[in-house]
């Protein structure tokens, strides 16, 4: 055994494993052929005189071959090998990274500093595309904030909320309607939007929090859809599908970002540039996101935060120990909703226009995917997941060679949700507690021990 292991990968496979691998790969390829048959080679399209079928056999054959080859390689080197190549890589990786104490904290600080100077970095390095990049940074930051908000509900309290976008919508519509009917500005409306969203969180949360995990998920989904349908059909109040436009822009202590004499640029004696407003927007969402993160980190150390985590791990034990689970769940719901509301009113002011279109279930799914991919409960994970999933795919659009391979109308954004979905499944199957997370116990007796993700992965909590 030991001799065989040392002689390299090829010899580390049982002789008859080759045949088994081949058979397994063939079966996988056959399955893809069956599953894909009605979707890959055949495509129905609207044509004159009804629907017509177009044929794309090469795609089907390519998919089958790719799956066959991929499965064969996986079998030979991972599944059926005596020493899987992933374990070798894993040992090398963990050997180097686990010895750095406080890596997460250092990474967090580095990310914070980078995010704080990001707009100036972009204007200095990419002056030609500064607007596009800052816009992208704002988008990513919005998702980070939403991810952190949802992380309180899903990651800390363990309540799967599929209707988080409802609170985002409440925040956005609160601001838009307050501005339209009462003429409030962004800074006046922001706290009100947060309070209203938290209020809705409590109203929606109160009846459903008795429900078990998966029922809760589907009821929150239903509530999210109800709010969207009401926004869509209550034409007199919300303007229905036409949405609300002309939402005021935020000001800096009353200074508007306009060209006039009383604008921001004139006041500080700068040359007027539209980029000022984008940089300002970036800093607003940056500060809001940092507040979200800070509040979450502090709350985790308070009794309520510990109760959240205890609730996530075992609700029955929690109740036996005298924790009021209803109140604990409601605070998680309300605080998560409040941050969703803040992010919503920021979204409204950034876009200047909102309509129910922006608040579909898809949006909830994206935010949930970010939280899941980052590792439930991990704050840095949310940042990395947002940057990779939102920013990475936006950037793919600009890479030329992909469109040379896949044809000129290749649009990576089209595949974004497909990748999101696959990643969600893959993460849950292989690393259910997230890619990078290790758990630090919030309360310790004598010494602070690291709990590796592999140890908590089999926890039977909710």
């Amino acid at each position: 055994m030991a001799v065989a292991q040392r002689t390299g990968l090829g010899a580390a496979i049982e002789p008859n494993a080759y045949a088994a691998s081949l058979k397994d790969a063939a079966m996988a390829a056959f399955l893809v052929a069956v599953l894909g048959f009605f979707f890959l080679p055949l495509r129905t399209d609207i044509a004159p005189g009804g629907l017509a079928i177009t044929y794309r056999w090469p795609i089907w054959v390519a998919a089958i071959l790719i799956v066959f080859g991929g499965r064969l390689l996986l079998n030979l080197f991972v599944f059926k090998a005596r020493k899987p190549i992933t374990r070798t890589i894993g040992e090398q990786m963990s050997g180097s990274s686990l010895r750095v104490p406080g890596l997460g904290r250092a990474l967090g600080m580095a990310l914070f500093v980078f995010a704080a100077i990001l707009p100036f970095f972009i204007t200095a390095v990419f002056p030609a595309q500064q607007r596009q990049f800052i816009d992208l940074a704002i988008l990513i930051m919005t998702y980070i904030m939403l991810g952190w908000g949802l992380n309180i509900v899903v990651g800390l309290a363990g309540l799967l909320d599929l209707g988080y976008v409802a609170f985002y919508a409440v925040g956005a519509y609160s601001f838009a309607l307050l501005a339209e009917y009462f003429g409030l500005g962004f800074w006046m409306a922001l706290p009100l939007a947060g309070i209203l969203a938290a209020f809705w969180g409590v109203i929606l949360g109160f009846p459903v929090l008795r429900l078990r995990g998966d029922y809760l998920a589907i009821v929150t989904l239903a509530f999210g859809e109800i709010i969207r349908i009401v926004l869509l059909n209550w034409y007199e109040f919300t303007n229905g599908p036409d949405g609300i436009s002309g939402i005021p822009k935020p000001t800096l202590f009353g200074l508007e970002f306009t060209r006039g004499d009383d604008g921001f640029a004139a006041f500080f004696g700068l040359e007027y540039s539209t980029i000022h407003r984008f940089i300002f927007l970036y800093y607003i969402i940056f500060v809001l996101a940092i507040i979200t993160n800070f509040v979450t980190i502090r709350l985790r150390k308070l009794p309520v935060g510990r109760a959240w985590e205890a609730l996530r791990e075992d609700e029955i034990a929690c109740r036996s120990l005298g924790i009021n689970t209803t109140n604990t769940k409601l605070t998680a719901f309300a605080i998560g909703a409040m941050f969703g509301g803040f992010a919503g009113s920021f979204f409204a002011t950034r876009q200047g226009f909102i309509s129910p279109e922006s608040f579909t279930f898809l949006e909830s799914a994206i935010i949930l995917a970010i939280v899941v991919l980052g590792g439930l409960g991990s704050q840095v994970g949310v940042v990395i997941a947002s940057v990779v999933m939102i920013g990475g795919i936006e950037l793919l659009r600009n890479i030329g060679f992909l469109s040379q391979i896949f044809g000129p109308d290749f649009d990576p954004v089209q595949y974004r949700m497909l990748i999101f979905g696959l990643a969600m499944v893959a993460i849950m199957v292989w690393k259910p507690r997230g890619l990078i997370t290790t758990r630090n116990p919030s309360a310790v007796l004598k010494e602070r021990k690291k709990i590796g993700a592999d140890m908590v992965s089999q926890g039977e909590g909710h």
Binding site: L51, D214, I218, A365, Y415, V429
Partner: protein, 309 residues
């Protein structure tokens, strides 16, 4: 009166479709205690397979006799959709047995996103219209213009949908009640560990549960295609949530409950749009879901769930 009868017929037709999808939810919930969030999308997959098969048969092979075409479409759609149901279970749910409670639900949502976007990418986002294939019907009540009453018609399509649902339900009930597979399925539902100790192949039984659910959902997909004449990659979401509501209303885990719940949801939706407002018909279904879960969690025919520690 005539209007009421007509709506009743329409509601029963729609309810049959929801009922067939709801069976998939209720069976999976009964056996492994999870909401198969991707089941609505399996229904959508079935609908697309039915559409493509129908087009191939009529345009490429030139079949013209509709009953034969529909029979072949049903068989092919059931077979291929079953393969999808099996694969989803194998890839996304089986590796997570014994993981923490939210994990299978999250993969289910992931799988739902994957299926939707796979169909969107491969088949395009635009809707696929199919002209009405089965026309005509039986007039039950003659309308008269003087009194302003409607004509009440039971179309052949509605007869086919309701009839086919009845046949499938009868066959399915027999399958669960009389065959070894049904016995294994019920055994796993009661106690998975004990069933395994007594020699039931639990993994295989669970797989077959998904296969049966997918097969029924594919028939529902074909019915939906024929009834509405237009499908797109997103139909699984709403139909899925409504069918799930039906399963919960009837009592999750109970097969007759799923059918009853489906019929009730169909009736409520149709009457709500007929008498109140079309815009809020989805709100009606969603509200029922929330109300039932909060006030009557065990549903109409279900058994109350006892949580064991």
């Amino acid at each position: 009166m005539e209007y009421f009868v007509q709506q009743l017929i329409n509601g029963l037709t729609l309810g049959s479709i929801y009922g067939l999808i709801a069976i998939g939810y209720t069976m999976v919930y009964g056996i492994i205690g999870m909401i198969n969030f991707a089941h609505g999308d399996i229904f959508m997959i079935g609908s697309f397979i039915a559409l493509t098969t129908f087009l191939i048969l009529t345009t490429v092979f030139g079949f013209a006799f509709l009953p034969v075409v529909l029979l072949i479409v049903i068989i092919i759609a059931m077979l291929f959709t079953s393969a999808w149901g099996w694969t989803v279970e194998r890839l996304a749910y089986r590796p997570l047995r014994g993981s923490f409670r939210l994990a299978p639900l999250i993969t289910a949502i992931g799988m739902s996103i994957v299926l939707q976007n796979f169909v969107q990418v491969t088949q395009g986002a635009r809707v696929k219209p199919l002209p009405p294939q089965i026309q005509g019907g039986i007039t039950l009540m003659e309308g008269s213009p003087e009194t302003g009453s409607f004509v009440v018609q039971l179309s052949y399509m509605q007869i086919i949908i309701i009839g086919l649902t009845l046949v499938l339900m009868a066959g399915f009930t027999l399958l669960i009640a009389k065959t070894p597979l049904g016995r294994a399925q019920r055994a796993c539902e009661q106690d998975r560990k004990m069933a395994a100790l007594l020699g039931v192949n639990v993994d295989r039984t669970i797989s077959l549960t998904f296969v049966m659910g997918a097969a029924l959902a594919s028939v529902a997909g074909l019915m939906f295609l024929l009834l509405y004449g237009v499908i797109d990659f997103y139909i699984g979401f709403l139909a899925g949530v409504k069918a799930f509501t039906a399963a919960v209303l009837g009592g999750i885990g109970s097969l007759p409950g799923a059918m009853l719940g489906g019929l009730l949801i169909g009736l409520i939706e149709v009457f709500w749009s007929g008498y109140f407002s079309v815009e809020y018909k989805d709100v009606a279904a969603f509200s029922i879901l929330a109300i039932v879960l909060i006030f009557l969690p065990s549903g109409l025919l279900g058994q109350p769930e006892v949580e064991k520690v």
